[in-house]
Amino acid sequence: MEIKVITTPLDDEVIKGLRAGDKVFLTGFIYTARDAAHKRFIETLEKNEPLPIDIKGQIIYYCGPSPAPPGKVIGACGPTTSSRMDAYSPKLLSLGLKGMIGKGKRSQAVKEAISKYNAVYFGATGGAGALLSKSVISSEIVAYEDLGPEAIVKLGVDKMPLFVINDIYGNDLYEMGIAQYKF
């Protein structure tokens, strides 16, 4: 199938061109953050303190990798279930976050925030942790090191294979897929 090649930081023109169901190769930098890091982001914002990373134009990957074996940049690094981050995402999108990578359905509030703030939700294939690790070319802990596997890691990625699940037009690949193939 046709593949769209995109790079970070994502600008609005690129996001406008993405449609649910597109396969994309993503190149650039992304940040891992899952349950505990999101909780801490929101607590930081509530105290009117700055986030440890500038999320404007950036992409967060919901991922807790397996340990890197010697000589490797990272271990297996597939996505975790995104819905656990639903409570936090609209706030981050309002602050300029442009993309999220994970697996599974998002809440209505997240989908609305995606449209409102011109963002995108990508799916990485769950359980394809080895394949996804091949596209990671650098890995550096940038914040919350004390959270161990949940620390924020800046990943350099080259042609990371993703699918667009929720676009700015309100399309949802999960709903479209079921509607088309249910019989």
Binding site: T80, T125, Y181
Partner: protein, 279 residues
């Protein structure tokens, strides 16, 4: 009477968990290759191709198939003429798990239920033992990820619910999971026994060989009917839409109380990691 030292059990458990997490079985690879042909959605086909490629990369690079290397589920069939020497058996299994998850660079995913503090070494394992005739020990490991395990359930149906009740329960669980348990999935169904036995049966059902049908023709028919209906939901690979939502459905059953119809559904993601050894 045959003596088996726990040193041998420890090293076998260590090896099996590393092997299971890194090397997808030929059986699963063959099934995925067949699924690419069966799948009608282009996106679904692409996802399954990614899974096949993922398995090859994991094998070549010797890294886990999936970062969720699971809780350490271990089944043992112990011959009644075996004498185990050395450590306490459960301690030996835990030690094998500890070594496997450390030396194999596998993720430790076991934590306290409330404080969520990680136990640090993926112990304790979940151990199921059975005493069988003979003088061998059969060990089967089934590292099980959280995403798929979260969509399992035990339900006490009433006898009048019958087969239709079982079918609608299984379909309800598959639809509830949708994309989250990482389809294409394998569905284990335990029917009968009692509350806890139905759950164990559903887990044992997941360990049946791909494509193998229940010996009871009625149960075999139910397996195929369920597989067909699950694949008509449209959920498809990764939930992106498609015709291969499940790779197989296995049922294990046993007689139950005259007042009950216990049913358990246990869902397995496509990263079906199962390895065994006989000592």
């Amino acid at each position: 009477m045959r003596e088996i030292h726990t040193d041998e059990i420890i090293s076998t458990i260590e090896r099996l968990f590393i092997d299971a997490n890194i090397n997808l079985s030929d059986e699963m690879l063959e099934r995925l290759n067949k699924a690419v042909e069966e799948e009608k959605s282009p996106v679904g086909k692409e996802v399954i191709r990614e899974l096949i490629s993922n398995a090859q990369i994991a094998k070549n690079e010797q890294i886990p198939i999936c970062q969720d290397t699971g809780l350490a589920v271990t089944f043992l069939e112990i011959g009644q003429d075996v004498h185990i020497v050395g450590l306490n058996l459960e301690d030996a299994i835990a030690e094998g798990v500890r070594r496997g998850y450390k030396n194999g660079y596998l993720r430790k995913s076991c934590c306290d239920p409330f404080t969520r503090k990680n136990t640090g070494d993926n112990t304790p394992p979940t151990i199921h033992t059975k005493i069988v005739p003979g003088e061998h020990i059969r060990i089967v490991v089934l590292p099980k990820g959280g995403g798929s395990e979260n969509y399992g359930e035990v339900r006490m149906l009433v006898p009048s619910d019958g087969k239709e009740g079982v079918k609608s329960f299984v379909l309800e669980m598959v639809k509830k999971g949708g994309p989250n348990p990482c389809p294409p999935i394998i569905v284990g169904v335990g029917i009968g026994g009692n509350f806890e036995m139905s759950a164990i049966l559903s887990k044992e059902a997941l360990m049946m060989p791909m494509g193998e049908r229940n010996k009871d023709p009625e149960m075999a028919k139910l397996e195929l009917e369920l597989l067909e209906e699950i694949n008509r939901t449209g959920i498809g690979p990764q939930g992106y839409g498609g015709t291969v939502t499940a790779l197989d459905v296995h049922i294990k059953s046993m007689p139950c109380h005259i007042a009950s119809l216990p049913v358990a559904v246990n869902i397995q993601c496509h990263a079906h990691r199962k390895k065994e050894a006989i000592l």
